[in-house]
Amino acid sequence: MRALVVDDSRFIRNYLHSLFAEHGVECLEAADGEQGLNCLRHLGPFSVALVDWNMPVMSGFEMLEAARADPAFDATKIVMVTTEAENDHIEAALDAGADEYLVKPFDEAGLFDKLRMAGVDEP
């Protein structure tokens, strides 16, 4: 399993990185949607991409749409990471092809529950 974390917050990237590292999951990071897309294109394949909603340059939703428009990433599960205030975006994200969503704050169990629900293979 390889994971891509796309979030403009270093804190979140480090947090997810450490959670993945404990489970021996390789994890790459990107700080905005555009970087995220570039990682998908050039550093893939990834089993899962965890994508923050609100980011500079290119939002998580834009990145989701772009990624889902490209069949090359069909095998990559996309999990949107939102805060509660963005709850009403979730549906739009699922409609646009997101596999799951994860609401901040989450803990280790929450993260891996969601990954399982999204259908990501066990680490």
Partner: protein, 777 residues
């Protein structure tokens, strides 16, 4: 403290610093959505991460701030000084808490102050209650259909929402309870004291339902763009400039090597290869600086639309050749001239719909923007199918404004009249409209385009429309220039402003230069031309009055004058280097360059020299009328063998003394190596037939433009440049190019089209179509 917390503090502080900068900017630009999004994100990130670490005090504070900022970002609330001070207060408190976490590891307690601040932020959210209600209600109504088609998930139980089959959507009843659908902010942000919320419910509905709708729109096109990013790379413009600079150095080195090795056959071959590689490399780097004109064109649909609306006209904009590429800096430089030309086309060109219909035109006017390549230039055309320009009206205006005398105006032909619109102070607008403005006329368009070495041409037919054509060089960094000497120093004169050269031998100078008080004048074909002596201008040691000299006739920004120099050297392609500020301030120089022989030369700026020397503006009309030249043309009078022949001056590219070694043979025909091209050469003067094999022997060659190609012609001698009337059209007098009367003698005009192209040179031992008509007295 663990690493994650330390990271959190660091990142949050950075966010708050950013927020502070943006907030101060916000005071001057309260509507800037970029700024608002940035501030929102700073607080949003803090809020999003506090939950992980369990900092509840920070969470409550940033939550209140986020709600307020969300309204600002979505345009539901306008920033005002009160709001900005509230946000600044929030920022201070957040910083305080971060400080406390860093030193004590805990947030500290300050329940009351926090509550007061949160309440204040709440109050600000309600802000202009009246405004906030009116707009959102509308938004809610608009958003309703899409909103209704989609079932709303139960709120606040986010963790258990899972994907449901899409087919389900239709079956679920639409939610319509505004209270239920209210945004999280409405409920959660309530102050702890739980005071009743006077906020009207509709505002609450809209803030959630309208958000997805407004966000979805801008997202769609943005998502489509990344595709192009795959095969492209972003490069810093600085880096490109540096590469261009280095290529410039390489061009200089190449020039030096070519000069140094021209005598050795082996080195000459290597030199030629270096020449080719350098040319290719230069072209590639130049290409990297190119941007398609669509970058510029894309702003015009909006401009056209707004102008048409403001003027009650109907205009359709067509754009062609958007993929045509131009150097980035030049693209910037033509932005204003082009914008102005389009304004003109719509303001003065396109008629009102009723007028158009009355004239049998479609009610909707057409403006066509077209870009294309033409040799080393890019042509940008603005074409409108409007009223066109009335020749009579231009004539009248020009006389009224005393730009030409009535007598002159009568004698001018249509083409010359049209050129008058480029004179400063000329404007045909019946009334000054607020669209085209005052004081900015076609002269500014011309000046701006000429500044970058371009040209403006106009063609107009009354009732049919106008075409304005901007001719722009592909690049600015390397230009052709003529090297001149003055008192032992080299100077480069950009070819773009050079119109002709006059040589004066010793003794001639005194007779032919006329003095009027302190101003020197030269009579060029009957017209007085102000002279500027370069040595005096630059306060060099003056030359002797009778010493031989050359006059470079320059035309810069509509000012025409002769620049007197000691002598001329070769024309060269020079690389323009920027000047140090000290030299720039002098004003006479446009840059510096290093010549092929390794010497330095300053590049003269003809425009500012003319201004400094108080050369007045020449109206275009002056050019034509002193000699009553209507219908006349300038010719280069040459001697070929024993005959005299005339070449239309406008076709002459260059006259050069060329060593025999540069003339090669393709089959039986001579060809000339010129600026990296092979040109067909017409040995009209039979210079090459009886030529000895001495490679040092030189031949005078005139290089002419014939349509898209260039051709060379050997001549025995260049006699004069003079004006004449074409007496007979091509073909009628047994002479390819017609005949003309020069210096009272009938002279044959060379028909350049008769010189075969290189493709057929090998097969056709064609007889050159050279005038056979002997001149007659």
């Amino acid at each position: 403290m663990d690493d994650l917390t330390r990271e959190f503090i660091l990142e949050s502080r950075e966010g708050l610093d950013r927020m502070e900068r943006c907030l101060t900017d916000l005071e001057t630009r309260p509507g800037d959505t970029e700024l608002l999004a940035e501030i929102f994100r700073s607080v949003h990130t803090i809020k999003g991460t506090t939950g992980f670490l369990g900092f509840s005090r920070l969470e409550a504070l940033s939550h209140a701030g986020e709600n307020l900022l969300g309204l600002l970002r979505d345009g539901k609330l306008a920033a005002n000084p009160d709001i900005i001070s509230g946000l600044l207060a929030l920022m201070d408190v957040l910083r305080g808490v971060l400080q406390s976490i860093e030193t004590t590891g805990a947030e500290g307690e300050s329940q009351q102050a926090d509550s007061a601040l949160i309440a204040r932020l709440e109050e600000l959210q309600r802000g202009d209650a009246s405004l906030a209600v009116a707009e959102p209600v509308l938004a809610a109504v608009e958003a309703a259909p899409s909103h209704a088609a989609r079932p709303r998930k139960p709120r606040g139980t986010g963790k258990h929402i899972s994907r449901r089959p899409r087919g389900d959507h239709q079956g679920t009843p639409p939610p319509n309870d505004p209270g239920e659908a209210g945004p999280p902010i409405a409920v959660e942000a309530a102050p702890r004291e739980a005071e009743p919320q006077p906020r009207p419910a509709p505002a609450a509905v809209s803030s959630t339902s309208a958000r997805p709708a407004t966000q979805a729109q801008p997202e769609a096109p943005a998502a489509a763009t990344p595709g192009a990013a795959d095969s492209t790379l972003r490069v810093d413009v600085e880096l490109l400039n540096r590469m261009m600079n280095l290529v410039g150095e390489l061009v200089l080195t190449r020039n030096q090597i070519l000069q140094a090795t021209s005598t050795d056959a082996n080195f000459a071959l290597l030199g030629r290869r270096l020449d080719m590689v350098t040319a290719d490399l230069r072209e590639s780097v130049m290409k990297a600086r190119m941007q398609p004109v669509s970058h510029l064109f894309s702003r015009f649909p909006r401009l056209v639309r707004d102008l048409a609306l403001a003027l009650d006209k109907r205009v359709h904009l067509e754009m062609e050749g958007q993929e045509t590429e131009l150097d980035k800096s030049l693209l910037e430089a033509i932005r204003d001239p082009l914008t102005h030309s389009i304004r003109n086309a719509i303001d003065h060109g396109i008629e009102c719909p009723d007028v158009r219909v009355a004239q049998g035109k479609p009610a909707e006017g057409l403006v066509r923007l077209r870009a294309c390549h033409e040799g080393s230039h890019v042509i940008v055309e603005v074409h409108d199918d409007g009223a066109g320009m009335s020749i009579e009206r231009i004539r009248q205006k020009a006389v009224e404004r005393q730009l030409v005398s009535p007598q002159r105006a009568e004698q001018m032909n249509e083409r010359e009249i049209l050129q008058l619109i480029f004179l400063p102070g000329f404007s045909t607008a019946a009334a000054v409209t607020n669209v085209s403005g005052r004081g900015v006329g076609m002269d500014v368009v011309r000046t701006n385009v000429e500044k970058i070495g371009g040209k403006v041409e106009v063609d107009s037919h009354a009732g049919k429309g106008t075409i304005l054509r901007l001719r722009i060089p592909l690049t600015l960094a390397i230009i052709p220039a003529l090297i001149v000497h003055s008192r032992g120093q080299n100077f480069a004169v950009p070819q773009a402003s050079l119109t002709e050269l006059v040589h004066m031998s010793a003794g001639e100078t005194d007779n032919r230069i006329e003095w009027l008080e302190n101003a020197a004048l030269y009579r060029l074909r009957g017209r007085l031309l102000p002279l500027v002596f370069l040595d005096r201008l630059l306060q060099q040691p003056p030359r002797e009055r009778t010493a031989p000299c050359d006059i470079a006739i320059l035309n810069a920004d509509g000012r025409r004058f002769g620049l007197v120099v000691d002598g001329l050297a070769d024309p060269e392609e020079i690389v323009v280097k920027p000047l140090a500020a000290v030299l720039r301030e002098i004003g006479y120089y446009a840059g510096a360059t290093i010549l092929g022989n390794g010497e330095m030369a300053l590049i003269l700026n003809p425009g500012s020299i003319a201004q400094n020397a108080n050369v007045t503006l020449t109206s275009e009309a002056d050019d034509g009328l002193d000699e009553n030249r209507a219908g006349r043309q300038d010719f280069l009078l040459v001697e070929t063998g024993n005959r005299r022949a005339a070449l239309p001056l406008e076709t002459v590219v260059r006259i050069e003394r060329i060593p025999r070694s540069r003339i090669e043979r393709a089959g039986s025909r001579p060809v000339l190596r010129f600026e990296g091209q092979l040109l067909p050469l017409d040995d009209a003067a039979s210079e090459l037939i009886d030529a000895s094999d001495d490679p040092e022997a030189q031949t005078t060659v005139v290089v002419c433009r014939d349509g898209d190609r260039q051709v060379g012609m050997t001549v025995s001698q260049v006699l004069d440049v003079t004006g004449g009337k074409q007496l007979e059209q091509a073909g009628t007098g047994g002479v390819a190019g017609g005949i003309t009367l020069l210096h009272e003698r009938v002279t044959g005009i060379v028909g350049l089209s008769g010189i075969p192209s290189l493709e057929c040179v090998a097969e056709t031992p064609a007889v050159p179509d050279f005038p056979s008509a002997e001149e007659t007295q």
